[in-house]
């Protein structure tokens, strides 16, 4: 199904209509302005350190010291140059290469960090590792969203799947004293939530958004109820799971920056790498993926070649729930050590945003979740070293970054064509 393909023309008179996008120069001009005011006007004249190493690296990288004021000046000029340069290129009808905004964003980020952490040292590997950890439940959730929506079922219930996974992982993990049992149970719990979603939306054709929204409330109520009825009564017996602890992978974990970020994580994170890679590969290269996408794009066409649309959707939604459930397990088994009411705290909705932001693609959705994780952790890291910005505004950072990214970079996105529409056989 095609998408909104044209937009209203603005000009009235001209016989030539200008359709060039001035987004980029405008954005960089604004950044340049902000950078001029903040990074120069309010700069502390002290160096900011960027420590690229951790104690366990194979070799040490130097601590990079950037003078705050000078960096501010350079970044401001650079931003202005990019603004002018891209404006010029656009006016010449030339395409601005994508590396320009990419590097521009990187420089702007450096400028911001140097300004905000002046006179302090930021530990880059830790910053990145923390970002990854914050993103893990979001990635699991987003994968669940991507699979489900690619199969044609809108998954608003990611939050519920995460929450059910978190709850069950804590309880089963405690009772069995085995984190692996908890992890497995979380997947099953996520799948059960999916069954509910499937039964109502695929079997009974209830609007998928309604079902999703309602399931979120249902699971929140149910876990909250069971928590206050059972878990609070005997936390030791029911809510004290054995967690996963980090496992360093030999050699790999010693590579500076990369090692501490990616290879000193818990089993669940390693599992995540495998799942992301597997889903990203399988979605486009296997029979499973082909059929999954077929029922999400054009279920009737899939039906006419003998694919059982409802069953395909059913099991893939179940799979999506299982994966999201793992994300919930990560929260309780590896982050908080126990279940608490609404411990997922809206992660499912952020994951939903990542699905859309990542245009229903597993890798892009993962990157979207990582961006969010990075912004969240940056917020923490900066407020710990003492940033000049009020804490509430720092807390807004990840959300504002997401809005800017979606509005500025992504724009319109095209969902799987049949996502959200039930398949009704004639």
């Amino acid at each position: 199904m095609t998408f909104i393909k044209t937009s209203e023309s603005k000009g009235h008179s001209g016989s030539k209509i200008d359709r060039r996008s001035w987004k980029m120069p405008v954005a960089f001009a604004i950044v340049s302005l902000i950078s001029g005011v903040l990074f120069i006007g309010f700069a502390e004249d002290a160096p900011t350190g960027f420590d690229l190493s951790t104690g366990t690296d194979l070799f040490r990288l130097p601590i990079i010291q950037l003078p705050a004021l000078a960096t501010g000046v350079i970044v401001t000029i650079l931003m202005a140059l990019i603004a002018v340069g891209s404006a010029f290129m656009i006016s010449q009808d030339r395409k601005v290469p994508t590396w320009v905004p990419a590097f521009g964003a990187l420089f702007a980020l450096t400028g911001f960090l140097t300004w905000a952490a002046a006179d302090e040292t930021l530990r880059v590997p830790e910053l990145l590792a923390g970002s990854l950890v914050l993103a893990v439940p979001l990635i699991f959730g987003a994968l669940g969203g991507v699979i489900s929506e690619r199969a044609g079922v809108v998954n608003i219930a990611i939050e519920a799947q995460l929450l059910a996974g978190a709850f069950v992982a804590a309880v089963v993990g405690t009772i069995t004293a085995s984190p692996f049992a908890g992890l497995f149970a979380a997947a099953v719990a996520g799948m059960l939530v999916s069954f509910l979603l499937s039964v109502f939306s695929i079997r009974y054709l209830v609007n998928q958004i309604i079902v999703g929204v309602v399931i979120n409330v249902l699971v929140s109520g149910l876990t909250g109820f069971l928590y206050s009825q059972w878990l609070v009564e005997s936390p030791e017996r029911l809510n004290n799971p054995e967690g996963f602890s980090a496992v360093s992978i030999p050699i790999l974990s010693g590579i500076p920056i990369i090692g501490p970020v990616f290879f000193k994580q818990t089993v669940i994170v390693y599992l995540l790498y495998i799942i992301v890679a597997a889903v990203a590969f399988a979605l486009y290269r296997t029979r499973w993926g082909l059929r999954l996408r077929a029922v999400g794009e054009h279920p009737k066409a899939a039906d006419t070649v003998g694919i059982n649309v409802k069953l395909t959707r059913f099991w893939n939604v179940a799979l999506a729930g299982a994966i999201a459930g793992l994300g919930g397990a990560f929260i309780t088994l590896s982050q908080t050590g126990q279940f608490g009411k609404d411990v997922t705290a809206g992660a499912g909705f952020i994951a939903l945003a990542a699905v859309i932001f990542g245009r229903w693609d597993p890798i892009k959705a993962t990157l979207a979740a990582l961006l969010f994780g990075f912004a969240s952790n940056l917020q923490n890291a900066l407020s710990v070293v003492g940033s000049p910005v009020p804490s509430e505004f720092m807390l807004m950072l990840p959300y504002v970054v997401t809005i800017i990214a979606v509005a500025g970079l992504v724009g319109k996105s095209r969902p799987p064509a049949a996502s959200g529409t039930p398949y009704i056989k004639g």
């Binding site: 209509i17 296997t286 029979r287 082909l290 009737k300 899939a302 070649v305």
Partner: protein, 504 residues
């Protein structure tokens, strides 16, 4: 393989779409089904293909009763179908579409697309298709998509092939090629069910014709019968297949397109430096193979193309740069190519669709409020005058058959004071009765002294409606010729051949 349908009855609620239909398809014959829009042809074929379950009746293959729970069963029994609405996944490649459902895999499910590509190449070679297995289907012209459908069906070694209105979207050349393919298949022993509304095609290839009306078989027709005979058998009344139209009475009103270029989002120009004038009182038909810029041109006339340069003036007023609202207010009537996507709001009632482009002021809106009484009177009147077959003006248009949907669009567009009418593919998929009506309406507009542009890939339509014919090829007009230009010549022009003798 001999196929027999016996006493098939299929109901949708109260509606009996198929009423005890008997049909026999002999091995190696081309069996044509004829019938009005909504007669029940597609339904019958869907039952045969296992998509629908019939309430009564049975399907026999080589005199043996079979039960098809789904298309999978039908395919296994050697039945293949090319559906009226393409059953292709737009974002998949040709090879993926062909493989889907019977994929060859390595090990645990890794796709072996090479096998599918080979399959595509082999079958293409057999029929002389030029198909790139790695092209994305949505990027392909409809004619090529049609071939993908055929390859898909053949890749499963179908013994009986059902083609449901395959030619509705094909150009004359493509149609001829397609009929050749059907003959080749037949000679290889494949049985074919061929559904079409185009009587010329039926007469050319069909071995047998079964006519269906209102869900019942009304009889067999002789392939040698003339068009009028077939048409009246199908519609149940006499149909006049020729349009009587008086010679054009040109007026001063004019649409002048000057040096128009339209770029697509990648900067390729879909229309290049196109100039043409349409006088009031004449119908300019724009012929051409689909995808040569006609769609863009028509959209630009309605202000729906924002990468357009040049000039479009209507009675001296520049249209380029105006938005759709302003252009509609200038009195431009627009019948879009894809009525379900661009022409109608499926969930709206007939009445609501009739006021869709007049939702701002009089007569249907006063002080921000809908005037339902006015609208209902208007709709009731249009229902009658345009012979829209519906239970009431409140019926949702998605319930109507294609022909009736098109009439709703026309009723809306023609009931305004027009200064220009642009109609794209006005009769695509309609039965002969509906076509007759639509054509009368368009000629009526022309006779009121309004310039009319009809974009059509259908040569029959072009020839019978046009006062002048402009043939488009690769974004340009390769020539403007009189309506009586021989088809062969038009065909050559549509393939890009420039013609020197220009008509005034």
């Amino acid at each position: 393989m001999k196929l027999e349908l016996r006493g098939i009855t299929k109901r949708f609620g109260d509606l009996v779409a198929n009423d005890h239909i008997d049909l026999i398809i002999e091995e190696g014959e081309i069996h044509s089904l004829l019938g009005e829009n909504g007669a029940g042809k597609s339904t019958l074929m869907n039952v045969l293909y296992g998509l629908y379950q019939a309430e009564e009746g049975e399907i026999l293959i080589d005199d043996e009763v079979r039960h098809f729970a789904g298309p999978g069963d039908a395919m296994r029994s050697g039945i293949g179908m090319v559906h009226q609405h393409f059953m292709l996944i737009p974002v998949f490649t040709v090879a993926e579409n062909v493989a889907l459902g019977h994929e060859e895999v390595y090990g645990p499910g890794l796709l072996n697309l090479e096998a599918a590509r080979t399959l595509v190449r082999d079958i293409s070679a057999r029929f002389g298709f030029d198909l790139d297995p790695d092209a994305r289907v949505e990027d392909l012209p409809v004619g090529v998509q049609q071939r993908v459908e055929i390859v898909k069906a053949l890749s499963r070694e179908a013994k009986v092939l059902v083609f449901d209105e395959p030619t509705a979207v094909l150009t004359p050349q493509e149609t001829n090629e397609f009929m050749a393919i059907m003959r080749q298949l037949k000679s290889e022993g494949t049985s074919i069910v061929f559904i079409t509304h185009k009587l010329r095609e039926v007469r050319e290839v069909a071995d047998r014709i079964t006519v269906i009306r209102l869900g019942k078989v009304v009889g067999e027709a002789d392939p040698n019968a003339d068009k009028e005979e077939l048409a009246s058998l199908m519609v149940g009344r006499a149909v006049d297949l020729t349009i009587d139209k008086a010679p054009a009475k040109l007026t001063d009103n004019a649409l002048i397109i000057d040096n128009l270029s339209i770029a697509d989002e990648f900067g390729h120009r879909a229309v290049r430096e196109l100039s043409v004038t349409v006088q009031g009182g004449e119908i300019l038909a724009i012929a051409g193979v689909q995808g040569n810029g006609q769609t863009e041109l028509a959209e630009a006339l309605l202000g729906m193309q924002d990468r357009a340069s040049g000039s479009i003036t209507l009675n001296g007023k520049e249209l380029l740069g105006l938005n759709a609202r302003q252009i509609l207010d200038e009195g431009v009537g627009y019948v879009p190519e894809d009525r379900t996507l661009d022409g109608l709001v499926g969930g709206f009632s007939i009445a609501e669709n009739l006021m869709l482009d007049r939702s701002d002021g009089a007569p249907f809106v006063r002080r921000g409020t809908l005037q339902t009484t006015v609208l209902n009177e208007f709709a009731t009147e249009k229902l009658e005058s345009f012979d829209i077959r519906a239970q009431s003006i409140q019926e949702s248009v998605s319930q109507l058959s294609g022909g009736n949907q098109q009439k709703v669009v026309l009723a809306r567009e023609l009931s305004r004071e027009l200064s220009l009418l642009v109609a794209s593919q006005p009769t695509r998929g309609l039965d002969v009765g509906s076509i007759e009506f639509v054509h009368e309406q368009i000629v009526g507009v022309r006779d009121r002294g309004v310039p009319v542009i009809v974009v059509s890939t259908e040569l029959d339509e072009v020839v019978s409606l046009a006062d002048r014919i402009a043939v488009m090829y690769k974004g340009q007009i390769v020539g403007i010729v009189p309506a009586d230009t021989p088809r062969e010549q038009l065909g050559l022009m549509m393939a890009g051949e420039r013609i020197t003798e220009e008509a005034a």
